[in-house]
Amino acid sequence: MSASTGHGGAPLLEARDVARHYSVGTGFLRPRATVRALDGVSFERSRGRTLAVVGESGCGKSTLARQLALLETPTSGTLRIEGVDVAHADGAARRALRRTVQMVFQNPFASLNPRKRIGAALAEPLAINRPELGRAERTERAAAMLARVGLRPEHIGRYPHMFSGGQRQRIAIARALMLEPQIVVADEPVSALDVSIQAQVLNLLMDLQAETAVAYVFISHNLAVVELIADEVVVMYLGRVMERAPKAALFAAPRHPYTRALLASTPRVGATRGREALARAASTAFASELASPLALPSGCVFRARCPHAVAACADVRPPLEELGGGHAAACIRVREIG
């Protein structure tokens, strides 16, 4: 992990055993239960690179995004941004960190205030975090950012409903970049968009990274998008990391049975796959669906759906074992199954 240290020595982003649990009611007069939405997640991230977090509904990827964007504080574990421990930061320090981390959400129809003109939406982060800038300066920066994400100057006075989904997502990206953050956490930023618009927005994200060296934490369920945009990939399942690897290694030689099932299930257009692949995916994949996060199984959380599961899988929670080359997998049979 030595390559991932940032300019200042400390990694830009460092998570150590980060957990986030929620207490939920299970019904009238019943005891409250704990949902382990995020359960011991660790990784590091350096400047100008893209970490992709993949997994299905309920795997904890959006919970992770909320911790990284300082919208919530982890229940346990350490999360450091630019070396600052988030849990122990006071109000001023948290405000400073918010300038470092910004967020882009999935649904551009819900993430923009419908009653606010685009110019005002873009200038607002500056008004809050950079009060020393004058109004004219803020408007000027908003206009410049609008041009950078490929929108026209006259758009600054318009309302969100006057834009298409792709344009709104450009605006949301522009707003996230207004404070020149080091990290942008993007939670499913292209999943609400059509294929051709998705390509435009992915191009924009890649261009902006080349210009500004911003690091992305790119949260997605779409493996094809991840394969294109990521440098490193973390695969999550029911709040835990199943596999972590540099992108090329993960897609060329996935080691965890869950990652393999996920890759096999993704429908693709192409000569290497076909109808047989579909049948294979459905059979090798899963007899059952996701376990309830309220009653996680003992040992490995994936064992109920795993084709390689043995009795020992129920005994211990498999640690994330380093396999060399930055590749790690949480499976006790990882060396047997090849």
């Binding site: 344009q167 051709s196 390509a199 369920h221 299930s265 993704t266 693709r268 257009v269 994949a285």
Partner: protein, 334 residues
């Protein structure tokens, strides 16, 4: 296509759906769409938001509400003219011979009733029988759609089911009367990939076992590639290309199909930029005079801007383009 001597199960010619938008103007959601579905065939309609693919399905089902206007030269199912039927005749056709499942299974089920109640209600409407017989049939249907612990699920309420299970219940309801055509509008879009793979395999299996025709509407080219026999590509309410499936993706003849394929992330690995069509789909008020794709098309010629192309027949496909893309043979590829 193989059964040319037999009339198709569903024949649609010149289907147009318009919604008035005030001032005498109207939004053309579906523009002169023609296609057919043979018995037991899997046909896909693929397109982006606003391409008219869902409205096409709703028009077939007779579910386009006022003030929408549906017109067609021909709308024939199994020899019966859908436009000449009385409302009652058409209703009995739906559910019995044509069934439909929708994208969002969570909102398609009634949250106040159990799975058994809803399945038995469908059965009472279409085939009758005693309560006990209908409950047995409901269980049989849940087993047919491979729901785990089917007996337990009978008395579950929709909120107790996952998205994948809800979609299986919807499918159980749809196949209850052994329809000859199942219309599935984005049936797996709301599901996770691993559940999607199971669902697609199940749809394909039921379709093959029951000899049912399937009209699959989706935005996902990967889903089309893995399930469908023949695809219609829609853009701006029009069919721009139709072709058998491996061919449509190996040798696209319409620039829009080519652009959709080129924009797929998996076709751009290792590149700095994805190939992306500039601009967006035309809206109600900026439909071009000529070819609908002309403002965005990389191969546009002066003729394309002045004149609307028809859906020209090519070797094995049809493309709505004056200058269709060459086949592999034409450019000297194997």
């Amino acid at each position: 296509m193989a059964m040319n001597e037999r009339p198709p199960l569903l024949e649609v010619r010149g289907l147009t759906v318009e919604f008035p938008v005030g001032g005498g103007a109207s939004l053309v959601a579906v523009d002169d769409v023609s296609f057919h579905v043979d018995a037991g065939e899997v046909v896909g309609i693929v397109g982006e938001s606003g391409s008219g693919k869902s409205v096409t399905a709703l028009a077939l089902m007779g579910l386009v509400d006022e003030p929408g206007r549906v017109r067609a030269e021909r709308l024939v199912f199994a020899g019966g003219d859908l436009q000449r039927m009385t409302a009652r005749e058409r209703r009995s056709l739906l559910g019995n011979d044509i069934a439909m499942i929708f994208q969002d299974p969570m909102t398609s089920l009634n949250p106040s009733f159990t799975v058994a109640f809803q399945l038995m209600e469908t059965l009472a409407l279409h085939e009758g029988g005693s309560r006990r017989a209908r409950r047995a049939r409901a269980l049989e249907l849940l087993r047919a759609v491979e729901i785990a612990d089917a007996e337990l699920r009978l008395d579950a309420f929709p909120h107790q089911l996952s998205g994948g299970m809800s979609q299986r219940v919807m499918l159980a309801m749809a196949i209850a009367c052994s329809p000859r055509l199942l219309i599935a509008d984005e049936p797996t879009t709301a599901l996770d990939v691993t559940v999607q793979a199971q669902m697609l395999a199940l749809l394909k299996k039921l379709q093959e076992e029951r000899g049912m025709a399937l009209l699959l509407i989706t935005h996902d080219l990967g889903v089309v590639a893995e399930v469908v026999d023949r695809v219609l590509v829609m853009y701006g309410g029009q069919v721009v290309e139709t072709a058998p499936v491996p061919l449509a993706f190996d040798v696209p003849r319409h620039p829009y199909t080519e652009a959709l394929l080129a924009a797929l992330p998996e076709r751009n690995l290792g590149r700095r930029r994805l190939s992306a069509l500039p601009g967006i789909v035309p809206g109600a008020f900026d439909r071009p005079h000529g070819c609908l794709l002309s403002p965005r098309c990389p191969h546009v010629q002066p003729r394309c801007r002045g004149e609307r192309p028809a859906l020209f027949p090519l070797d094995e496909s049809r493309a709505r383009c004056f200058f269709p893309l060459p086949t592999h043979a034409e450019v000297g590829l194997p």
